[in-house]
């Protein structure tokens, strides 16, 4: 049987999407309840262990999910080979930067 690479990517997009949806609902409710309008509460929210861990999961899911989505867009609309390669590399680079940046933000509080 052929290795199901395309299927795994299809699944990955859905699983990362679902993980982010759960995070959004969780954090959304916390924000609604705590209503952090001043710096102290806002900072405290991001300083807890679980929030950092959950946000890390969110960020990693986001990077993968966004990559799969943007790749799809590039395949459909950017046909010239050079432009396609350049944009693809730009997207990958940006996402890598965002991942590292997010982790720095989370762990330097």
């Amino acid at each position: 049987m052929v290795k199901s690479h395309a299927l795994r990517l299809w699944l990955a997009q859905r699983i990362t999407g679902a993980l982010m949806a759960i995070y959004a609902l969780m954090v959304g409710s916390v924000l609604y309840v705590q209503h952090p309008t001043e710096y102290g509460t806002w900072k405290a929210l991001f300083s807890t262990g679980w929030m950092r861990a959950a946000t890390l999961v969110f960020v990693l899911s986001l990077v993968w999910h966004a990559w799969l989505g943007m790749h799809d867009i590039l395949i459909d609309y950017v046909k010239p080979a050079l432009a396609h390669r350049i944009l693809k590399n730009l997207v990958v680079l940006s996402l890598a930067v965002y991942a590292v940046w997010s982790m720095r933000i989370l762990w330097s509080i």
Partner: protein
Amino acid sequence: MRLSIYRFNPETDAEPYMQDYDVALEPGDKMLLDVLLRIKDLDDTLSMRKSCREGVCGSDAMNINGKNGLACITKLTDLKEPVVVRPLPGLPVVRDLVVDMTQFFKQYHSVKPYLVNDEPPPATERLQSPEDREKLDGLYECVLCGACTTSCPSFWWNPDKFVGPAGLLQAYRFIADSRDQATDERLDNLEDPYRLYKCHNIMNCVDVCPKGLSPSKAIGKIKELKLKRLTK
């Protein structure tokens, strides 16, 4: 009745253009095809495909007021004037309303749309229970008109790589057939990132199918089968 029809003659025209017509209808005219044939009486140069005039051959699929359909079963009373008639989107235009269906049929053939069963044929027919036969309903009726596939944006952007709604519907027609033994190979055949997975459930195909079929549903079942195979 006023119409605006897409014209392109490769021998004389550099670019396609829209030509307006005003046609006097006869009492018997009920469908768009009747009017188009009446136009041919006035202007013999208008080219189109047509045959059965009853919605079973699939020849006269075209884009009517923005939506794909079969001209022979599109009621005049359902059409707002001026009626804008254009060829099926996304396929190369040979002339006027005639498009080159090569890519469409290439994708269709690529799914091996025939029964694969290596067992020697029985004396009578290969038996199939009524329940198993029911599974082919909504799949076998496709007339390969191309309305669905040419309404699909994923097919517009990747006609050489994405099989498209019609091809995938037929792929499932044989996957679902109890007499077919090549299910695994058929599913393997749809493995690359484009052939099947370029379907993003846009569902234009279901919206336009003149036979009321749902390629989306069939494609959903294929995706489900592939998922099940992964976890086996």
